[in-house]
């Protein structure tokens, strides 16, 4: 088996530049309205080896997050009076339509850290570390917001003290339209994107990223769309946590 030397390619035809997105009225491939999120399936406690875990499925985006700790910080770290948060995101080799070498996503890992850090009561576990590890089983678009929401659920499942849960939603701008919770195909054709992570009950934003060209009016519109969706997603997350908690008793 000499797999290393052989070069291979995926037989799936190269994506054609789809023109429909340029029209003002086009139909999303899954039939959703522009301001409609994919149905969310959430479950906690999938990984027994971890302190807490959660699985999230939004359409074809499937993510598992495990939380370990609070546990001993790595030897090389300095003493700290408050706890530490450590995040890592990796993708499976089959997460996308073309096979990739499964690897860590450093940029997303840093963004996940920023989105969660403000919501965790780090003083409640001095000196120790909480590890949040995510594995993207399938990448179907809006990966980062799904990971962030799923990670917050896993942290709650692990019993880590938090000011509030964190829900996260993104909006993509294609031409004149704002599309919420975009799929990968929609993301590929974006002119700009907007991601918000917030603590719905406290009405506070932990992270906001904006890329591409936006007018002020569009930003306001996107912000409202996202905040509203985050609060709805927050309710779904709470009912998931309560469901697990009630079955435990």
């Amino acid at each position: 088996m000499s797999t290393a030397a052989t070069t291979t390619y995926s037989p799936s035809p190269a994506k054609k530049q789809q023109t429909i997105f340029k029209d003002l009225d086009w139909v999303r491939s899954d039939g959703r309205g522009f301001q409609q999120c994919r149905p969310a399936f959430l479950r906690t406690g999938a990984t027994s080896a971890a302190s807490g875990s959660a699985y999230a499925e939004f359409g074809n985006t499937k993510v598992i997050v495990s939380v370990f700790g609070p546990r001993e910080s790595k030897k090389a770290m300095m003493y700290s009076d408050i706890g530490r948060l450590n995040c890592n995101i990796s993708y499976t080799t089959f997460s996308t339509s073309i096979r990739v070498q499964g690897s860590d996503n450093k940029e997303f890992s840093a963004m996940l850290h920023k989105a969660l850090e403000g919501a965790i009561i780090l003083e409640s576990f001095p000196k120790t570390t909480v590890d949040v590890f995510a594995l993207v089983l399938e990448s179907g678009g809006s990966d980062l917001p799904v990971i962030i929401s799923c990670a917050s659920l896993a942290l709650a499942d692990a019993g880590i003290m938090m000011y509030d849960i964190v829900s996260s939603v993104s909006v993509t701008c294609i031409g004149k339209n704002l599309i919420i919770d975009p799929t990968s195909e929609e993301e590929d054709h974006r002119d700009g994107s907007f991601l918000i992570s917030c603590m719905p009950s406290r009405n506070e934003v932990t992270q906001l990223t904006l890329t591409g060209e936006w007018t002020t009016a569009k930003v306001h519109e996107a912000m409202e769309l996202c905040i509203d969706a985050c609060s709805k997603l927050g309710d779904i997350m709470r009912s998931c946590l309560k469901e697990t908690a009630s079955t435990l008793q």
Partner: protein, 303 residues
């Protein structure tokens, strides 16, 4: 070792059972073994509840999700096109990789991969090739020009012992779920998939009209046992593997051929009778796994 600690140490009163189990794992287990019952309530030779669901990954050509108790494996197969080697122009290739991402166990951390993962990859590769599960000739598309490179990636999502057994079952189940995409040859000489509306009226002739599934010859199944004194514990959990270190893995195929008998050291010696007992436990397990696989396949046909 701490065998004598079974005597009352005077500490048990003040701590929870879990704490005693953590501090004195071997005496804790030996007490259970005396009653021929494991802490999770299983008799020694019983495997954990096993489940299988096929087609869990929509971005793959074949996939399977397997659970042995809490041990969870997700196997997915993706087919890509390769140019066959000159020595074997009519053969495709298999690439098997076992992954233990940091989510699966507290001992794996990013940048610090599990030591066991490449060893299990190698064992899986050996078992699948030795059993002759796949005829590599069936992976040929155009002799000397194009063949399928079959990437089998198995991810451990939750590690709780018997990783090789669960990974092998996930891999063979993913093979039986594999649907080869229909392909044709483009002008540039590349093999491309034909799907959707193009299927009824393909612009080019299909290369592989009647080869959508692979013929699986003899399917390998395995059972790992932990040996401790005279006890044989089938399908051990991670805790059992770490406390009683002697492991023996038997791989048998569907026609009861021995594909592998793997015992990497350990303080307990395997006598002929032990070997025979482990093989007969494996025979029973093969029947169970065969049944689970065929039920999952027939459920899929109904859908």
């Amino acid at each position: 070792m701490a065998e004598k600690a079974t005597e009352k140490t005077g500490m048990e009163g003040e701590m929870e059972v879990d704490a005693y189990r953590r501090l004195f794992p071997l005496p804790f287990y030996e007490r259970h073994l005396l009653d021929s019952l494991r802490p999770d309530g299983r008799p020694l030779s019983r495997s954990r509840d096993t489940s299988l669901s096929l087609g869990a990954v929509s971005s793959a050509d074949g996939s399977a999700l397997v659970k042995f108790g809490d041990t969870t494996m997700l196997a997915a197969i993706k087919l890509e096109v390769m140019t066959p080697s000159k020595e074997s122009p009519d053969e495709g290739c298999l690439g098997i990789e076992f992954h233990m991402p940091p989510i699966c166990s507290p001992i794996v951390r990013p940048g610090k991969p599990a030591e066991i993962a490449p060893v299990i990859s190698k064992q899986l590769e050996d078992a699948i090739l030795s059993s002759g599960l796949i005829n590599l000739k069936e992976l040929s598309l155009i002799s000397g020009k194009a063949a399928w490179m079959t990437y089998v990636d198995i991810y451990c999502l939750n590690a709780d012992g018997s990783l090789f057994d669960a990974a092998l079952f996930a891999a063979v189940a993913a093979f039986s779920h594999l649907q080869i995409p229909l392909v044709s040859l483009s002008e540039g000489g590349r093999v491309i998939t034909v799907s959707g509306e193009n299927l009824d009226n393909p612009a080019k002739e299909l290369v592989n009209k009647d080869k959508r599934n692979l013929t699986l010859h003899s399917i390998p199944f395995s059972l790992t046992c932990v040996l401790h004194k005279n006890y044989i514990l089938a399908d051990p959990t991670a805790e059992e593997e770490s406390i009683m270190e002697t492991l023996l893995t038997v791989v048998l195929d569907s026609s009861s051929q021995l594909i592998s008998l793997y015992k990497p050291g350990g303080s307990v010696l395997a006598f002929k009778t032990t070997v025979q007992d482990c093989i007969s436990h494996t025979r029973k397990r093969v029947k169970e796994l065969q049944k689970i696989l065929s039920e999952a396949l027939s459920d899929m046909e109904i859908d």
